[in-house]
């Protein structure tokens, strides 16, 4: 079993431009240290209709209200998250969809680096394929991989529960099973920037195998960066 850079196709080249946009990195940095409710703010704004900051401040009184119990640092963070989320929302429908996906991937990478980061920067990678002896390689690379011996992982990232599809579940499970065939332990993880309840609804009717796929949702994102 080995990891390999994915050969960039036309889609990947275009998407790489989104991934490298400073707005994506800024959003990921802010969301990595955000509270659950701040992440929920980002989700709502990036997918909402209104681009009026005042409207969103009023919808989240616990973050922005005069009587909010949040400390000043959290309030400042809420302001910054609102700003970047509005910047994404203002990009237009097609672009915002790509930005949202790129932000979840970047956030996942950032959190995993906190846990597995090594000085060489090669422990946590993006857009990598996992190859197995005698097995035809998957076309689609994994969004994020952890390439630390003893903690190998392939991670796919989704903006919403609706993005959980049979293809995604099969690819993750196949990778895990092929790794096991080679006596390697590969964790397979699905990070979804949505509520666990919505993901459970999606998975309830999924016939694709997912018993061994770890699900990380909006409520449990911090687990990605937690120390072992």
């Amino acid at each position: 079993m080995r990891f390999q850079d994915a050969a960039p196709d036309a889609r990947a080249v275009v998407y790489a431009g989104i991934q490298s946009d400073p707005l994506v990195a800024r959003a990921a940095e802010l969301l990595a240290d955000a509270t659950f409710e701040q992440r929920l703010l980002a989700r709502a704004v990036m997918n909402g209709e209104s681009t009026d900051a005042g409207t969103w401040r009023a919808i989240f009184p616990s973050l922005f209200g005069e009587r909010t119990a949040s400390p000043p640092a959290v309030r400042d963070g809420s302001d910054e998250i609102l700003d970047v989320s509005l910047a994404v929302a203002e990009r237009g429908e097609q672009a915002r969809s790509q930005f949202r996906g790129a932000i979840v991937e970047s956030l996942t990478e950032l959190l995993l680096r906190r846990r597995h980061g090594h000085a060489d920067g090669r422990s946590v990678r993006r857009e990598r394929r996992v190859l197995f002896d005698g097995v035809r390689g998957e076309i689609h690379p994994y969004d994020v991989t952890v390439e630390v011996p003893g903690a190998l992982a392939a991670v796919d990232c989704k903006w919403g529960a609706r993005g959980i599809s049979a293809d995604v579940l099969h690819q993750l499970e196949d990778a895990r099973a092929h790794a096991a065939d080679e006596d390697e332990r590969l964790s397979v993880v699905l990070v979804v920037f949505d509520a666990a309840r919505s993901c459970a609804v999606r998975l309830d009717r999924a016939t694709a195998p997912h018993e061994h796929t770890r699900l990380v949702t909006l409520e449990s994102l911090d687990e990605l960066g937690a120390s072992r």
Binding site: F36, N47, E49, T55, P61, R202
Partner: protein, 108 residues
């Protein structure tokens, strides 16, 4: 979609806030059903979140809420009512109840 409630009425109880949220949820579901491939998911998702909101109402329905929270619920429902794209409506079927529950001091 126009909200099916009297304009300017701010809910003063958890029960009233949930009623507004459930109305908005069902309007989003009606729009999301236009995506044929996701019809079942829309039904399941709507039911799951309606159940969560109803469960909260059973426990805290009579609790009063501050005007800022009531206003937040109304604005949230208004925001949902602005959605015209069925795909975005499906995404909001999940977002709307989470935000409403957070406003009411609950986890999703």
């Amino acid at each position: 979609m126009e909200p099916d409630r009297a304009p300017g009425v701010i809910p003063a109880t958890v029960s009233a806030a949930i009623a507004i949220t459930v109305d908005a949820l069902e309007s989003l579901a009606a729009l999301g059903e236009d995506v044929d491939d996701e019809w079942q998911y829309v039904q399941d998702l709507t039911a799951a979140w309606r159940d969560r909101l109803t469960a909260l109402e059973v426990i805290r329905g009579d609790d009063g809420i501050e005007p800022t929270i009531g206003a937040a619920i109304v604005l949230l429902a208004d925001e949902a009512a602005r959605i015209t794209d069925p795909h975005r409506a499906i995404d909001w079927l999940s977002t709307l109840p989470q935000v409403a529950l957070a406003s009411l001091g609950e986890r999703p």
